[in-house]
């Protein structure tokens, strides 16, 4: 009996072609984007979204065209930080503070509602991850991003979404790492940075957030030394617009 690859007749479903068309659409949509930057950390609660939103605004105020894709589908916070309406977006995409373009699952959900998909609830873990990856692909491919200097991807904690992005984009995006000073954060972030290096991402540098109060440690310096990447900024508890402007200039 012949096996899969020995059957070479044209497939009317064209599933492989359909997947190829999806990838092509992503590439076409992002053709005008000069740089894609994933803001990531292996640790939750270090302020990735806060840094993403304010850095995006800082870049926009400096005259750059900036977009933000909120890849934290289960805990979207970018609409609140950029003050974009919580309603299904029409084309073109929503515009947030300082003219930052934005797409987020938060624009599709009722306030306070968790992300849920229609479909059989039994064994939903089997298909839920694929649904989330498909949503991410649509955010990349169905927004008219136009010409952007930077598209920032605000990732949730962990590595799963980063790996999905590498697959959808067809290459690993540059990575801006966010940590807080503590050794616990350093150890979690180290794993994420190592994974990013393994996937071929360029490490742009480290932002140390929540510096100067209760969190003690040298996470940013330790990671910078270990991965030979710069500490781009140390963000105090009460940053000013200048803080973000300086970070944007160093990026």
């Amino acid at each position: 009996m012949r096996t899969y690859y020995q059957l070479t007749d044209p497939d009317r479903s064209g599933l492989v072609d359909q997947i190829g068309a999806q990838r092509k659409r992503v590439a076409e949509r992002l053709a005008g984007v000069a740089r894609i930057v994933a803001v990531m950390s292996g640790k939750g609660g270090v302020g990735k979204s806060y840094v993403t939103a304010h850095l995006a605004r800082g870049l926009a105020r400096a005259g750059r065209s900036v977009g933000v894709l909120d890849a934290d589908l289960n805990g979207p916070t970018i609409p609140g930080l950029l003050k974009v309406p919580q309603a299904p977006p029409d084309q073109p995409t929503a515009i947030g503070l300082d003219g930052v373009k934005c797409i987020s699952m938060g624009q599709f959900l009722e306030a306070g509602a968790p992300l849920a998909f229609t479909g059989p609830s039994a064994e939903s873990f089997v298909w839920r991850g694929a649904m989330e990856a498909a949503a991410l692909r649509e955010f990349l491919s169905d927004v008219e991003w136009g010409d952007l200097d930077v598209l920032m991807l605000d990732l949730p904690p962990g590595m799963q979404r980063y790996i999905e992005l590498c697959d959808i984009l067809g290459k690993a995006p540059a990575v801006l790492t966010v940590t807080i000073p503590t050794p616990e954060s350093r150890d979690a972030v180290r794993r994420a940075m190592r994974a990013a290096v393994d996937h071929g991402s360029e490490l742009l540098g480290i932002v140390e957030n929540m510096v100067g109060r209760d969190f003690e440690g040298t996470a940013a310096d330790d990671l910078a030394r270990e991965f030979a990447t710069p500490v781009l900024a140390r963000i105090p508890w009460h940053p000013t617009p200048d803080t973000w402007a300086e970070l944007g200039a160093r990026l």
Binding site: S13, P88, T118, R137, E138
Partner: protein, 133 residues
């Protein structure tokens, strides 16, 4: 996924797709040599997995719409409740009303029902054995 007519050693060709509306999918494939037809039947979980890839068995007949998957599959706030359904729900004792509401909402969600009506509630009661709720 491909189908082979072992007797003819021929790759079978896609013939027809059917979506009965209960979350399942049926797709038939025909042997171009002997004409034998086989059907692939998927359960709701398997159908959902295919749907999550954003592809269509049998090929796309119309281009995809922006945010097609998100708009079709993300639950933005649960199914709507018609006035009649809300009135009936209000007659359920308050200490179990939340649980009963969830049962009907889950029933609707699993079947892609956008609005719960008294008729839908009757059907669900009969199917789920919820007489009296």
């Amino acid at each position: 996924m491909k189908f082979l007519c072992v007797e003819c050693d021929q790759q079978m060709a896609f013939a027809e797709r059917a979506l009965p509306g209960d979350g399942t999918l049926a797709a038939s494939f025909k042997c171009p040599k002997c004409g034998r037809v086989v059907a692939m039947l998927t359960n709701p979980m398997e159908t959902q997995l295919v749907s999550s890839l954003g592809v269509e068995i049998g090929g796309r007949t119309v281009p995809s719409e922006p945010f097609e998957m998100v708009r079709a599959n993300v639950v933005t706030g649960g199914p709507a409740w018609s006035d009649g359904a809300q009135e009936r729900l209000s007659r359920v004792p308050s200490f179990v009303r939340g649980m009963v509401k969830k049962i009907y909402a889950d029933y609707a969600k699993e079947r892609g029902i956008q609005e719960i009506t008294p008729t839908i509630m009757d059907t669900a009661r009969a199917e789920l054995g919820l007489e009296g709720m």
